[in-house]
Symmetry: C2
């Protein structure tokens, strides 16, 4: 027995979401059936509303309701530092820390020649444009600590350093609260390499 | 930094779904932002469409597009057996087995005095109505193997047996493919109690 069609359609929609398998999608679809009409309408409106009202910030390519995102339009942020991230989600991760006061630039992914993602597919030109007027003194490359993220960082460093802008990379090391026993060798190696004086 | 409002609204919608925490909800919401307008519209339509087109089967209270669900309207099913389940999802679980040829009845939950769920909150009257004409010879109570499910089964047995309809319960035992080592004592006890001749 197949699920009835409208249910099947809804399950398939949920399955397209990241990390959602067939069983979870079915559970979610059934829970939608238990919503009131009003609640289902709100759900659907939230989906449409998010798509309609959220655009890319014209400066940093982060998601934004306005032309400029809240970070770019905040006069208190330090315009001399740009933190380059792969993804808009990473911006929210950094903002939660509440320590970083510079600006961001969302690449929209990382270089991945195997998947056919070259520099032109990422928001690199926009980044270079932002460096043109000399305001920016440092670019922190916060791409993911993966092979592709690493390659992207290297590529950006080679591209940007000649302009006279400092390019830095996030520190590698053991995660706070983690257990050394479970740290992989590469991470431990980087942690030893990057060791610092305690006092 | 808060998420921007339309994003926050969408994340909250996802959080209401079962088993979805804050992080997963955020990941799902971000993935919706990456859908095309067309895809987002399809998603929203699927939510609305499921709510609008799916109703309760007027016979067994299962979800259905038509007045009668596919099982109730199937002339090949055996109308003398009714399998009583808590939830419409359970119907789909049984249908996957492809062995059961009788009908179903969806209670819409189980008795739970602590949560204020009494018999009148469940589809029990509809079940009794179906037993009135004498077609049904057996009611298999397939409520969940929990304390509440058990109490509901007992309640139904006391209610239905006097009408002259046989009331049975699913077998308890160790799950197939499971590991005895991890079976709890109550399950093992029931498995021993319900042991059967091999030949």
């Amino acid at each position: 027995m197949e699920y009835i069609l409208p249910l099947q359609r809804l399950i398939e929609q949920f399955r397209h979401l990241p990390g959602i398998g067939a069983k979870t999608a079915a559970r979610m679809a059934f829970s939608v059936l238990e919503l009131t009409d009003e609640e289902a309408r709100e759900f659907a409106d939230a989906v449409i509303g998010a798509k309609e009202n959220i655009h890319k910030c014209k400066c940093c390519c982060n998601f934004s309701e306005e032309e400029l995102c809240p970070v770019c339009s905040d006069a208190d942020r330090d315009p001399s530092v740009i933190c380059v991230v792969e993804d808009a989600r990473d911006v929210f991760a950094f903002e939660k820390v509440r320590e970083y006061k510079g600006l961001y630039h969302v690449l929209g992914g990382c270089l991945s020649p195997l998947n056919g993602v070259g520099p032109e597919a990422l928001n690199m030109k926009q980044l270079l444009d932002r460096l043109a007027d000399g305001t920016v003194a440092e670019v922190i490359v916060a791409t993911n600590p993966t092979v592709e993220g690493e390659a992207t960082a290297m590529y950006l460093a080679r591209l940007i350093t000649p302009i006279g802008v400092k390019v830095t990379r996030l520190a590698y090391g053991v995660p706070v609260g983690g257990d050394l026993e479970y740290a992989d060798e590469v991470t431990l190696h980087r942690a030893i390499e990057g060791r610092r004086n305690i006092i």
